[in-house]
Structures are given as C-alpha cells and as structure tokens.
Subunit: 245 residues, 2 copies
C-alpha cells in the first residue's frame, strides 16, 4: 500500500503530516525545482531484513526513505546491539560528515529509498540554499531527541523506558487510530519485533515482554498479536514515562 511513491511525492506529503524528527529536505526546495532534485537520485527497493547501510563502510551515498521503515543500529564485537533510532517516511540517512557510516541501517519490512551520491549534496545545497538551514534544524532537533534517549538509557526504569517508547510511537505518523493527548484509546501498529524494542530501550526481550504484561494488568494498554498495541491512558503512560509519581 505504501509502495511506489517517488521522492517527489514524499517530499510533498511530508510537509503536511509530520513535523519531522530527522533530516528532511522538505520546505527547502521550491516545487518547480523538484524535478532537478529527482534527476540526481536513483530509486532502490530493499526487502525486509536486508541492510542498505553498513556501519564502518565508506559513506558514498545518502538516502531518503520513501516507503516502509528502517532500524539504525550499532554492534559490539560480541554481538550486543544498540538500536540508535527508527527511520520513517521522509527521513534522511547517511549524512554523517565522516568518511564512513556511523551505523547499520536495515529495512523493517520492505522499504524503498532514494539514493543520492554524496558528491551531489553540495551541488544541491548550492542550488537550494534553504536546504542547508533545513538540514541544520533537523540535525539540531535530532540532537535534542538523542539527549532525551541518554536520560532514558542512563536513568529510567524498565517501565519508564517502555512507557516512553509507547508515547514516542504515538506520534501522528505511526498511529492507526485515535488521537494523542486525549484519554480515548489510541492504537499503534509496531513494525518492530520485541527484540528490536529491547535493543532500542537497552533491555532484554523478556523484560520488555514482562513490562507489556504489567501495563496490560494495570489496564494501561491492550495488546493484539504482539504488533498492535492500544494505549488506553496516554496521559498516565506519559506520566510514567517522565517519572511523575
């Protein structure tokens, strides 16, 4: 259902429904200039579970996610994994200033991307000066959200972590039904496995599963088949997430 969109479509759509937590090119490019941008890129399909960016590999290209989702992670030599983030529609990946990619990116379900050679970004920026401001804003907001994750990983309990995760996933773009803030139920469809959630929150799958169990027992959520979660009290979850007792 979400396949076949071009970069152009995504750029246009994105402005409307997502206030962008990651690097977007939206708003930086005038409509009549879009074709030039699209000409620089090539489209790529990535099947579920396949990685398209490898940590440490030479960073030749950057990508815009045009459908599906992806997980971004780092590995330790013994296999311990930390997911640094999930990318979604319109997110920019692989923009690191360094010579090599800083993380591995793997499709969560089938995904499509637009790929640009790194060399063309300077040309693009020269042509669309607002692009640079835009990138900077987005990098800045990414910094803020990473800082929030430091608090999560460094100081929060398992319950607080999972509550934070659920609240975060309740952003408009991920919702299936309901509205945030309201006390009425809000249903999320989580494309990632329990293992992914655990590696995102710095926990084990067992703890994630047990914590889902606690929330169920306390009447805060209902779960249908592991990937569909309904938040029954967004407010209360949000309080837990922020350590409000």
């Amino acid at each position: 259902m979400e396949t076949g969109r071009t970069l152009m479509d995504v750029v246009k759509e994105r402005c409307e429904h997502c206030s962008g937590r990651s690097l977007s090119i939206c708003n930086a490019i005038d409509d009549e200039d879009l074709p030039a941008l699209v000409a620089e890129s090539s489209r790529i399909s990535v099947p579920s579970g396949r990685s398209f960016i490898e940590e440490g590999a030479p960073a030749h290209d950057f990508y815009v996610l045009t459908s599906g989702r992806a997980k971004l992670f780092n590995l330790m030599p013994d296999g311990r994994r930390q997911i640094v983030g999930f990318a979604e529609l319109g997110d920019f990946l692989g923009l690191a200033a360094s010579e090599t990619y800083a993380f591995t990116a793997e499709a969560l379900g089938d995904a499509t991307l637009c790929r640009f050679p790194h060399s063309s970004i300077d040309r693009l920026i020269e042509r669309f000066p607002r692009l640079r401001c835009r990138l900077q804003e987005e990098a800045s907001s990414e910094l803020v959200s990473l800082q929030a994750r430091l608090m999560l990983l460094g100081r929060k309990t398992a319950k607080e972590r999972l509550a934070s995760f659920l609240v975060e996933q309740a952003r408009p773009c991920c919702r299936v039904g309901g509205e945030a803030g309201a006390e009425r139920p809000l249903t999320l469809s989580l494309p990632m496995s329990r293992t992914d959630i655990a590696d995102y929150l710095g926990l084990t799958i067992e703890t994630v599963s047990r914590t889902f169990g606690h929330f169920k027992k306390e009447g805060l959520i209902t779960v249908k088949g592991a990937s569909s979660v309904t938040l029954l009290s967004f407010k209360e979850l949000s309080n837990i997430a922020n350590g409000v007792r």
Copy 2:
C-alpha cells in the same frame, strides 16, 4: 592560569590542538574578520558550580566557553540526573533550534564564556558563510558521539563504561602528561566529581568508586587524590571499553 583569554585567542588556539568534538567557530572566520565577531559578544565569568544555562528557559543567547569546563545535564522530577556531556575550551553551547534550552549547563570550576544574542548568529552566518558548514560538521560529529553514548548507556557494563570514559578523557586537550596509544603512562586531571562521572555513565558513585578500585587492583590505573588518574595501559583500557575480550 586559564583565565583572561578572549574569544579571539581561543578561536586561534583551538585550531591547533583539538579536532573539535563540539560546535566551534574556528576555521570559519578569516583572521581580519575576527574583531567584528568579537564586537558582537560580551564576556561572562561564571564561578564554580553556578549554572549559566537553564533547561527549559527561553533560549536567547548562545555561548562559547573560553576557559574552564562545564557539565551539561538534564533532570527528572525526582532528581535523577543524566549528564549529557562535558564542554571544554572552544565549545559552542545553546545552539538548539528550539525556543528553549534543552539542558542545564553548570561551570565545573570557574569558567569564562563569550555570550552572543541568538539574533546575531544569522548576521554572523551571512557574513561568514563557512560558519554554517562548520556548525553543520560539528553538529554531525556530535550526533556520532551521542550515538556512541547510547551504546555505552544501553549495553555496556560498569567496567566498560568507566574504561570508555577514561579513554575519552585521554583526548589531547585533557591530558596532563603522556601520549595516547602508547603503552607508557598517561595522566589525566579530572575536573568532575565522582557524582558527575556517575551521572555521566548512568551509574552510582559507589559503583564508579568500586570500578576505579578494580582497575587499580588490576594494574590498569593509579589514582592520586580522586582527581588525578594515570592510565598505565591505554590499549588494554581501550579494549575493555570496546568489549574486546
């Protein structure tokens, strides 16, 4: 000893000895233009322990640290604290795109800063276009280092965390004696308390203290009066930091 330097001095020095982990204005401004930059700023002295940026306060100004150091942190309602980073000579603070500061910044020992009104940054960027590239590069490298800290907080053991911290503190700018990489001893002077280290690493002071103890017993470090630490085997500490068994 480190007092009384102007922004100009710092900008000049910085290029030489530090490959910059945070936002620097160095390299972006020609020498003859420096006075104009300096004219926009005002100098501030902050006594030890005083904060000069408050999380959540309206972000009117940004700062360049011109002497001393600072800790940047977030708090939870019940007082749990996560230090998101330490700032040092030449670091740029308070550049967040948002309307409010994302963290509290507090001087570690006496510090001096140059303050710029936020309104002047656009003017500066217009005048010194390379400044924007520079800021972007620095933001990007900050992103990479924050990602490394996610792995540290989410997946590393206490020993690995402290080893990572010591290796990180062994950057040129913090060294008192010795060279990194070599097997010869390398002495660090740590301006932060055990509590600060604990809040940086997501541990308690007791665990930090005990872990220092382990490293002493294993002959990896010697400690003199809590703030002076000598790394006896940088390589081995680096292996521990990266989980190499």
